[in-house]
Symmetry: C2
């Protein structure tokens, strides 16, 4: 019997591309045992043909610096897009799909912005478009939503989707260091980019959440409309206070189905220490789902890195190389997705954490709780701390469930008061 | 366009069958949106046609009391086996596969005993044999091993696979009650059967582990050769001691790849409280995997119950009803599996917990640690407790890594000593 070979055109030989090549090299025999075929990186798209490379291309692979040379090569079975960014990746993927070539991508930013359009194109051309690696690295959350929980309506999904942010917050929590210090350490270790904005301002988590919302709900929640708050403003002091109350601060990406409307967002939140999500430390990712049939399910693992993300890319390649063809890429028969009915974040009802910085004088607590009361915010716990020096003291409130809109209105009023000495810190409690 | 219908022949309308029917009823429209087809329970196999039923059969379904009437019905597309047990289920599944009909089953006992043979038959007839629901209820561990981590060599797999046992141990831990009391509570709540042996003696976890070992390693580890220890012998007193040292006792199903040989077993073990697995409480299940590429991955969720297990059955039905046909059932191209090379449990090297019950007299510690030393067991921590009444006192040792064989030899020697007043309690530490 002739050996069956699946020929891969790989765009981008960076961290993940190198990881993929390494797994294919180490586990070639095993993969053949699984799918009965050999997977070969036959062509690699690089920017510069003559450059010295950190990751050496697989010896069998031909190099090209032309997108057309990759996607139009009739000898290639699957195109793997790992160049990242939006413009070139968009051009590459849409050209490949136009050719009827199946594509595997890890590009969450591109999917967040152009997903529906690309799924439509793939459906028209009968091509596969697989993206397990786009969310949570090696954690198989995409297939879990598409396949394993396909018969469930997902009532809520709560994720820790950015390992860099989680690493920074874990470091701040365990070592009591500042955001800036933790960020610099993350940059030293290669967890954070020189320009960390995509991570620390929450956009990367928002890209991933956008991808997951589609899989979970079958609706498109436009990325541009997602409320996003990052972790830049988190102070070590608030992490300590949260700890004292039995909470950990994590950057959360969340969507809830409220009678068919979707309430979603990316925001830092206090998580009770006994929750499984609170145990997700360092660069790890996790997704906690609530399905109407399956109940709560949690998946946990490494959200980034060459081999974990390479593992996810490979699982997509093996699916496409296997006997499943024309399976629905988006997880739904009709790839033209309705737009989600969006419930504004301001209508979110949850518990809250406030840290006021007040001038220590009589009546302060009564004024604060009075304003809270006027805005329907009921207080669960209060701690006022006696500071040694100066007259500004912290007062921390934990509230019962209250609407975000009421909270913002109350804070706007409170922060104008003369005895308030610094902007009030506010976080949601999960 | 004519509506496409997938006709299910359902064998067994008990808890899981009822759960499946309920999800199909509640989420019919949603499922159609996912796969473009309607799933209909068209025929139900029952023992007695005239009996009053707790779970009413779906109104459209025809009833039959003949296995042949179900598996030979040419109008049925998929047979779902939920009758449990071995003999009738074996006959039903093999007849259905002989007919070339795809089968979905939740029957771990049957798969543990007859899996390789049934996969072989399915492969010969080109039929599907899907079994997501056989392990860990709604937790998608089967598909994760078969698909999502297919390119990984699995270095180890550690599971909490029996919700009943985990519930009993959790109750003993949180409420300080005895095994017997916790078992009775589990029976009242319907978590445990009147004859609890399958659960508490570890056989159910061993069935599930057998299924997972095949998926993870591609080798068959015969169920009959798996070392199995249940939780019947666990005393509340040891749970308290474990807690004092910072551990939880859980029933663990584990396989490790030791240079190609497999070391596997079901046994209670002490788990450090900070580990994710230690957080798995009550009737929940979890599986922690270590893949060579993906690193550590954990899946967590409900391991039993009508809707969670129904959700897993439904995901298999949706897969088979979708466009994937002839995909490998076992996760490997060649369904004739090699037998695993088994590394005896006696060669396991790990840390250990001992509780000796000794007569309180001088020299006891020195004799105990002397015998340990002769058997290459090095001691990490010792606590001797002063008891109020009587002369028998507990002495607890935590050891460094030592071989199980050495431990058994040392204990055999120790338990013959005149100052040992009760059988020594021994557990492994994970």
């Amino acid at each position: 019997m002739q050996e069956q070979i699946v020929r891969i055109g790989l765009a981008g030989l960076g961290t993940v591309g190198g990881g993929l090549a390494e797994i294919l090299r180490n586990n070639a025999e095993w993969i053949q045992k699984r799918i009965g075929k050999r997977i070969q990186i036959a062509k690699v798209l690089v920017r510069d043909l003559d450059k010295d490379r950190d990751v050496p291309p697989p010896p069998e692979a031909e190099l090209t610096n032309s997108i057309e040379g990759l996607v139009r090569d009739p000898d290639l079975d699957i195109v793997v897009e790992l160049i990242g960014g939006e413009e070139a990746a968009y051009r590459l993927i849409s050209m490949a799909l136009e050719e009827g070539k199946s594509v595997v991508t890890a590009n969450k930013a591109l999917l967040a912005e152009h997903g529906p359009e690309l799924f439509q194109l793939a459906a028209e051309r009968g091509a596969g478009l697989a993206f397990e690696a786009s969310v949570a690295g090696g954690v198989p959350i995409v297939k879990t939503l598409k396949d394993s929980l396909a018969g469930n309506r997902i009532k809520s999904l709560t994720g820790i989707l950015n390992g860099t942010d989680n690493y920074i917050l874990s470091e701040m929590t365990s070592r009591g260091i500042s955001f800036q210090e933790a960020l610099e350490k993350a940059q030293e270790l290669g967890y954070a980019e020189a320009d960390p904005s995509l991570d620390v301002d929450g956009y990367d988590a928002a890209h991933k959440l956008t991808v997951l919302i589609r899989l979970a709900s079958g609706k498109d929640y436009p990325y541009a409309e997602l409320p996003v708050h990052g972790i830049r403003g988190i102070e070590a002091y608030d992490i300590d206070w949260a700890k004292a109350f039995g909470y950990q601060i994590k950057l959360i990406a969340q969507v809830k189905d409220r009678s068919g409307s979707l309430q979603a967002g990316v925001f830092p939140a206090l998580i009770p220490e006994e929750d499984m999500l609170a145990k997700v430390d360092g660069p790890f990712n996790a997704v906690l789902l609530e399905g109407d049939a399956v109940g709560p399910i949690m998946l946990y693992g490494q959200g980034a890195g060459d081999l974990p993300t390479g593992s996810a890319v490979l699982s997509d390649i093996m699916d496409l190389a296997g006997s499943c063809s024309g399976a629905s890429n988006s997880g739904f028969v009709n790839s033209a997705m309705e737009r989600a009915d969006i419930l504004p974040a301001e209508l979110t009802v949850c518990r809250h954490y406030f840290r006021f910085t007040v001038q220590d004088r009589p009546g302060v607590l009564s004024v604060l709780s009075g304003i809270m009361g006027e805005h329907n915010i009921s207080i669960a716990q209060v701690v006022q701390k006696q500071e040694q020096n100066g007259e500004a003291v912290p007062v921390v409130f934990l509230t019962h469930a209250a609407q975000l809109k009421d909270v913002h209105n109350a804070l706007a009023e409170i922060d104008k008061l003369s005895f308030i000495k610094a902007r009030t810190r506010h976080h949601r409690i999960l």
